[in-house]
C-alpha cells in the first residue's frame, strides 16, 4: 500500500474523532440533557460510543473506519471521566466545568458600584 493509502487510512478515523464533540452534543440533545453526568461519564459520550460500536458491526470500509474514530473519541472521554478526581470524589465533571459568574469582570463592576 502506498503513502496515499496510508494517509487515507489515518485520515478517515481522524475525521471521525474530529467530528466526535459535535456528535456528542447532538447525542446529548437527543437524550435530553447537556452533559448529563452518569457517575462522571458524559451520557452523550456513552450514546456515541454505543452507536459507533453498533454501526461498526453493520458497516465496512471507510464508514467503519470513520465510526472507529468516532468511537475512540467517545471512549477516550469516558475513560477521562472515570479517571477525573472529581469523579473519585463523587462530583460531576459537567458541574465542575460550568462557567462561573465570579471573575474579574464582576469584581470590577462591584468596585465601580462601591464608588457610588
Amino acid at each position: 500500500m502506498g503513502l496515499t493509502g496510508n494517509l487515507k487510512e489515518m485520515a478517515i478515523p481522524a475525521l471521525g474523532a474530529w467530528i466526535y464533540p459535535t456528535a456528542k452534543d447532538w447525542a446529548n440533545r437527543f437524550v435530553g440533557g447537556m452533559g448529563l453526568p452518569l457517575g462522571g461519564v458524559d451520557l452523550g459520550a456513552l450514546v456515541v460510543a454505543v452507536g459507533a460500536a453498533y454501526g461498526m458491526e453493520k458497516t465496512r470500509g471507510n464508514t467503519r473506519a470513520f465510526l472507529a474514530g468516532l468511537g475512540i473519541g467517545a471512549i477516550a472521554q469516558i475513560i477521562s471521566g472515570f479517571a477525573s478526581p472529581s469523579t473519585l470524589l463523587g462530583g460531576s465533571r459537567s458541574v465542575q466545568s460550568a462557567p462561573t459568574q465570579v471573575g474579574p469582570e464582576s469584581e470590577a463592576q462591584a468596585y465601580i458600584a462601591s464608588l457610588g
Binding site: 471573575g103 474579574p104 469582570e105 469584581e107 470590577a108 463592576q109 468596585y111 465601580i112 464608588l115
Partner: protein, 133 residues
Amino acid sequence: MPPVETTVVLTATIPAGLPANQKVVGELQLDPALGAQTQLQVPQTESWVIEDLYVSAEQGIDCIVELKKNLRDTIGRTAPINSLLISNPSRPRIKPVMLARGDILTVEVQNLTAGGESDTDITTYLKLVRFVR
C-alpha cells in the same frame, strides 16, 4: 487576588502651531519596562477600572482627554486638565469606567488653545485598578 492599583502615565505632544481643538493621539505607559504605547490591551485574566485622571502640575496647553475603548467607543471625557490638579481635592472626577478582558484602551488629547512656537508635551496620570483572576 486583591485588586492592584496602578498609575498609568499618559503623555501627548501638541505640535507647534497646531490650531485649537484638534485631537492628537496620546501614549500610555503602564510599566516603565514596557515603554509608552498608543494602545493598552487588558490581559485575558484581568478587568480594569479607570477611576481617576489628574495632573501633577499645570500643563503648558490646557487640554481635554478622551478615553476610548476598542478604538471606537468614547468611554470618558475629562474636564480641562488644568482643573485636575492632584493637589485639589475637589477637582472634577471622571465617571469610573470598566474595561473587560481583551478590551483596548486608547486616548485622544484635544488642545483647547493653539500650539505654541515649539512642541508642547502634556503629561497626565490615570489611576487604574486591576482585577486579576
